[in-house]
Structures are given as C-alpha cells and as structure tokens.
Symmetry: C2
Subunit: 400 residues, 2 copies
Amino acid sequence: MSTNDFPLRRRQLLAGSASALAASGLATFTRGASAQTARPFPPNLEWKDPANFIVHNARELETKRSAFGTSAITPAERLFVRANLPTPDPSIVADRDAWTVSIEGVRNPRTLSIRELKAIGIETTTSVLQCSGNGRGFFPSKPTGAQWTVGASGCVVWSGVPIRYLVDALGGLDAGVQFITGTGGEKLPEGVDPLSVVVERSVPLRALPDALLAWEMNGAPLPLIHGGPLRLIAPGFQGINNVKYIKRLAFSATESKARIQQLGYRMAPLGGKADPSQPSVYEMGLNSWVNGPGADGAPVKAGTVWVHGVAFSGGTPIRKVEVSTNGGRDWLEGNFIGPDLGRFAWRQFALPVKMAPGTYQVTSRATDASGAVQVENRVENLSGYNNTSWRDHIVAVTVA
Amino acid sequence: MSTNDFPLRRRQLLAGSASALAASGLATFTRGASAQTARPFPPNLEWKDPANFIVHNARELETKRSAFGTSAITPAERLFVRANLPTPDPSIVADRDAWTVSIEGVRNPRTLSIRELKAIGIETTTSVLQCSGNGRGFFPSKPTGAQWTVGASGCVVWSGVPIRYLVDALGGLDAGVQFITGTGGEKLPEGVDPLSVVVERSVPLRALPDALLAWEMNGAPLPLIHGGPLRLIAPGFQGINNVKYIKRLAFSATESKARIQQLGYRMAPLGGKADPSQPSVYEMGLNSWVNGPGADGAPVKAGTVWVHGVAFSGGTPIRKVEVSTNGGRDWLEGNFIGPDLGRFAWRQFALPVKMAPGTYQVTSRATDASGAVQVENRVENLSGYNNTSWRDHIVAVTVA
C-alpha cells in the first residue's frame, strides 16, 4: 500500500517492523519504490498489454487515457490495477467454488462457499471501479501515493449474489446494524498488528440494496488480481470499499477498527493528519473527462474531430455532458453514445467539433439528474482523494 | 470455409483447383479436416483460453456452454471463432488507422481511411454475433460443416461509425439501391475465380439504420481474428453478413454475384441443392438457451438451483423467457438479470428452481415483444442454418 493511504506507515516502518514488511513484500509499496525510474511490467500481469498502461509500480498500473476507446465497458486486459497487499497465491482460484466467506451480524450467521452462494441468487450490475486516489497526480501538493491521472478507473460488469438475498436467506440483519464490513483474505505479514495492515472496510448500510458478492467480471471468472474468486462490490463507492478476496462479511453497528478504516481513506485537511472524525472515502463524486482524440500525444488532423469521453457519478444518473475546447470558457453539449448500463456505469459521450490547426484545451463537465454540476476545482486534501475537477482533466490537443 | 457453406466446393476441388486451394490454406476447411480427431488449439489464438472452447478445427472454435457465465457480454477471449478464409497477415493491424475502405453507390464515391471514418462519427451498439450454422450439431441430417451446439455465438459491444452518417457525408445513396454489399479484404488464392471464394455479402437496405463500420470490440481495437481493423456490423443479422476486413462497401441495386451470396447461406431444402431463389440467411430467429448450471457435465447439488441462460432475436426485444426442467411439459417464467443492452443484445435470465436428486431436461423458451414464441422444433434445411429449437437446446442435468 502506498504511504498516503496509511499516513503512519513510514513511522511504523521506522519503528521496527520494516523487516517483517520487507519479507511480506509490503515494503515495495513505499514512496521510494513508487518513485523509482525503472518500472518493469509485473510478470504476473502479462495478460494485460503493457502498451495500454502507465506503470507506477508492480501493483499500481494505470490505464492510458488513449486506451479507453468508446465502448461502454473496459475489458479486463485494459483495467487498471491497484493492490493494497501482495496478491494471494493463485491456488485460491484453483477451485473457485470452494472459496468460503463467513457472514456475521445476521440472525443465522454462517460460513458459505461460493457454490452455496450461487444457490442463493444471481444478479449482474455494471459499475465504475475507481481508485479513490484517481486524479491524485493533478494535486500541486503532491500527496504520497501513485500519481494517477484519470486511468485508475474502468467500467466493468459484475455478476454475483445480491447481498440483500444473502441477508434474507440468513434470517435478516441483527438489530442496530449500521455498516457492512468486508474483510479481505490476503495473507498478512507476521510480526505486525493485523489491524494495522488488514484490508477491512466498512461502508454504510445504504450500500446494501445494490451490493453484490461477485465471482464474475465482464463475463469471465473474476481474475485473481481483481479480487477473485470473490469480491465485495459496492456500486457507486470508491474502489477501496470493494474488498477483494472477501473472507468475512459482517453487518455491524460500528466501523471496522482496522487502520485502513480509521485512518486510511479519510478526507484529511492539507497539512493536517488523518483522523476517524473526518469523512471516509465513500461514494464517487460527479465526474467526467475526455479520452480522445489527441490523448497521450496522439496526432490530430485539422477538420471535424469527434471529441469523446466518459461521465459517471456515485449513483445519480448523468443528465448532460458539455465539452469545452478552450479550457472552459465556452461549452457545447455532447451526445451520449452506446447503451445505458445503469446509474453506476459510466456514459460515453461524443461530440463533433471543427478544429483548425492549433492547440486546444479540451475538457468536459457533467451534470447529473439532480442538477448538480461537476466541479471546476478539486477539493484539496492530504491524500489526494476524490479529484473530480474538470480543470485538472483538461487535455492539451495539438491539431496539425 | 466448410463445404456446407459452399455446396459446390467439393466438386470444384475435384475439378482441378485443389492445389491452388491447398497453397492458400483453404483445403484445410474441407470436411475431412474438420472431422479429424486431433484438434490442436490454433497457435495464433493462444490469447483465448483453450479450456473455454470446443475446437472443431483451426478456424472454428466454439465457446463451451459453461463458459458463458451470467454477465451481459462475452469477453473477446471467450468469443467463438469462425473464419471463412485464412486470416490476413497481422501487418494489417500494425497501423489500424491507415486501413482504407472504398465506398460505392453514393453520390460522391470515395476511399476513406479509418482515420477519416473517425471524423465522420462514432456510435456504440451491442449485438449478438452468431454463426448462421449455430445449432447445426443438433440436425439429425448431419449437414456438412462445424457441428456447433450453441456456442458459435456471443454478445459483444461494437464501436465505429454509423453507416448512415457515412452515406450522408458522401452525398446520399444512388437511386435504386436495394442492398448493402460488403467485401472482405482477405487475400484470395490465385488460380481460382475470385467470385467463387471472396467473402462478399449483400444485406437488404433495411440493415442501414443500425449498421456500423466498427473498429472496436468490447472496449479494445477489434482483434484480427474477429475482423480487425474494420468490420461491417449489421446488428440482428447472422454472422456471415458482418463482413470482416472490409475493403469495399457498395450500395447496390442487386445482390453480390459472389458464390457465398448466390449459393452459400441459402435455406435450401433437405436433399435439395442451394439456389439463389431460396431465402438468404439474414436476421437471426427468436432464440434462447440455458447455460447452467450443469452444462458440460458440471456437477449439481440438490436444493435450490439458479437456472440461467440467454435470449435474443434479430432485433425484436425479448418480452419473456420461460424455463422448463422436464423437457417442455411445464414452464416457469424466468427473471431478466443485468442491464438491457438494447434490442440486438441478448438478455440474461435466471430462475431459482428446487431440484431433488435426479435427472432433469432443462431448456428455455423466449417470447418477443410481438408475441412470437421461440419454436419447439428446428426448420430442417440442407446446411443446418437458423436452429432456434428449444427442444434441441435441452441440457440433461444430473442432480446429486
């Protein structure tokens, strides 16, 4: 995990657990490693085409803006990678149906295999998966962590059992439940307090109606790197809340005591420090950006140019997307293209614009069904979360 | 191409062009090769996981029923393969935007590069891609050609330029146009009449409002084996009409003179022979089938079982899907799951059924928005096309 997500990590390293972390592979997540210049493509991810990614480090791969295309979905081989802990051994996907998850905080708590989950129900949902720190690279404060631009995101189709079916099957929720807490099944390093490293996140109970335990992504068994065999999907919520390798699902009255919940992923003030009273990183903000043409320096010929990109939110439908080619002075309304995959998916938009030779500052601005408009400027925060600034998302396009 | 698609192929081979065909690789498409027992996975397709396919021969790979899952889409790496001619050299996808297609039958005919097409417009459509001979393996008459069960099909997202935009950009259609004729850019063998081998198909002008020239599939550049860099997509029409490597798009008053149009893909009577007066293989019929559980012999445990599958048509929305577990004596209405990707996509359905130990004859039956109901029995025909029989699609499921 990058230090930004765990502001105390560096101090903890200095306090003596460095060797345990190094043994576990965790040490490679420190800022030093992330800033190194040699960034080999991770050998276990060779099924993803390196040409489509910006390699921040072995566990943080960003999809290039030019690799998104104009289809409604992001194929697995182009989907960004962000792992908080070392990837579990591939043996956990050898017999997927045998993976178990324990359910707590219901009338009849029990442990179920994926095989048993498949008898409880099936639903399919499309949602944007996005790292909470997507857009961090635009923060002038240079928060620690991967310097994502816009590509720590993708729109994918999940299939699994609705958690509300599971709750019904197990007799209903215990009294007083306020949170859904998911615990990841990664192997934790020895010699450190498990609560200091475990990926355990609590989301408010409002996530329940749409949440899944998913075993399939984009029509194939969920890849190991993306949380297979089983992942908690909380549509509309930032990536970290979608716990991979889920081993325990607890309906609880209080939030997890894990550091990743208490101090990680908080909207801490610039220059301050994270604390549990600050807002947690939950629903994604209203967002959009342009993916082409001209992203990543691709040449653009003068004439009519179809500007295209994506727009999404934490669950409110997108009503309108506007495009500007002069850095936000003037706006033109774009057209949605392709199928509407539901309120948690992104909408693709496109708009023909006549461009003479020159340089253009191209960006987009979304409006949702409530009338809310995507913000011009990021909200500054310690760790560089929730960047939905249309100004930060400007692409400088040179037309020849 | 398999002999069923070209009933005269064998005679033609005997007539002396066998050596030219052998040199071109075409000879491997004859029935002898298709029936051989050793079926190595094609080395150029290793990016598809062999475990998900039935290998009919090097250019005909069928997706296993159990590999479809329950998401709305079929990922590229699980999509069936059916090639009429040897795959073009990969050099044609080295600079995709440079590929050109000539447009004829419009006021201002001209040749355009993909780069130029991208300036004319972008749209995204989801459609079922299905080999016209899907389900041929169930015909007792054993028509020649790959003995597909249900897996010569998939549901994919295409992105490209709407052909109606292209027509507008080039001044409109010539007078008297009745057909859209697409010509594939495969290299043809020397020494044979080009019209006897070229993949050139004409579809009626009614395909125009929905047709695309597509450069993207499922969010990535169209793979070579699936027709990249550019493919004609006629949503709702059987696979053969979706011409790969399209080099020429002609709006014409008459159908193509190519054998594949005149004699191939005709609904010829059993025991008869193909002729141009017979109906051509155009829109897909109303169809559905069950994909799980228990497909491909997977074990099923007694209790509640979620039966799931897909339903689609040639463009009429699906209104209802019913499921039977006793070979069609009784029917229960299924629920649609997942997003509706439009009238050319398939809908996923699922239904919980209590099953005690025993053997069940599981199948499904779709009803479309016009009230039409999927047929019980196939329409017998010489080449085994258009099999939408719910009886043929029965899966025998053993519950233990």
